[in-house]
Point group: C2
């Protein structure tokens, strides 16, 4: 640990020079002192990305397999509900693979951030910008689907839209589950942005 | 400008010492070299915040004043549409003041970032985290309202929900305008996050 001691001495020297008004050196000693803390953030970022991938996958599978046919039919048509009957759910199923693809592609960058910590400013900046875009994208589809699910459950007397969940119970349950999984993905993306911001600050 | 020259000399000295393996000092010289560029970012951040405030205000006023009564009525009731008939639009009107309040409160922090550039890491970090939360919040309400507006325009034959925009044309136009204004706010928040990330990187 003689290297660590040498660094500590340099830090002290720099800190005293800062008091004389050379503040720009502030970032450098902090980075060395909190090396372990930063590696922890990078590893947590990686774990969070894997969890977000699982949540997004759950959301798509749940939504993609919603297909309920009622056991009775009239003379003219059979009652059937599937995700592709409602545009909001279709966008949900189309957008989720984009989010999953991004998460898979971002994992190598996350590993780069763990391995090459002090030099990983570029990848970190790229990740924070794309993560924020993903927050917006995931929230948009999850929230549009949530609005339609709410309508399917409760209906709307003013617009004369009737609730359809009394008939299509399985359909509604699955769709609600997918919306919840999607909001969990949103929360994970929010944490990823916060982590990246904290990590970026020390560079 | 003799102070600037002194700093430049120090920078060169540090850069040469970096080549000997003291990479952590990398952040410090960059910050001085790109001082003007960073002040530009801070000012653009301030302008963008003001524009987002205007966009959010437009969205709320447009949505809050949607109230259309049809010029005919039956024996039993008069046809009337207002934003508070649909929960998605109600959330929109409730959430927008929160966004506006945050924008107003964040403007002093933005000014702090302009004035005290090299030391403004704390405010910058606070702004990037809260901006990201606002991206999620604004997108959520805008997108839920968009899903309902789409339904009001097009209806849904599978769920037997009829389009109501043939009757309530004014209502639908105003609501669509509010949704567009809200998505403009989202785009501005996205830019704010990107700007903060770039500014944070140099610290």
């Amino acid at each position: 640990m003689e290297k660590g001691n040498a660094t500590a001495t340099i830090n002290i020297a720099e800190t005293s020079s800062e008091r004389k008004g050379k503040a720009p050196l502030l970032a450098a000693p902090m980075e060395h002192a909190k090396g372990g803390y930063k590696r922890g953030i990078a590893i947590f970022d990686f774990v969070l990305r894997l969890s977000a991938l699982v949540a997004a996958l759950t959301a798509t599978i749940t939504m993609g397999t919603t297909d309920q046919t009622l056991p009775f039919f009239t003379q003219f048509f059979q009652f059937q509900a599937s995700y592709d009957d409602l545009p909001a759910f279709e966008y949900f199923v189309i957008t989720n693979p984009i989010v999953r693809g991004y998460l898979v592609l971002s994992i190598p960058f996350s590993i780069v951030c763990i391995v090459r910590r002090p030099h990983a400013v570029g990848p970190r900046l790229l990740l924070i910008i794309l993560d924020t875009v993903m927050v917006a994208l995931t929230t948009a589809v999850a929230s549009a689907a949530a609005a339609i699910v709410y309508l399917a459950h409760n209906g709307n007397p003013s617009a004369n839209w009737l609730a359809i969940c009394q008939q299509f119970t399985d359909f509604c349950q699955k769709v609600s589950g997918a919306v919840v999984a999607s909001f969990i993905t949103v929360v994970m993306f929010l944490f990823l942005v916060v982590l990246s911001a904290i990590a970026l600050r020390r560079n």
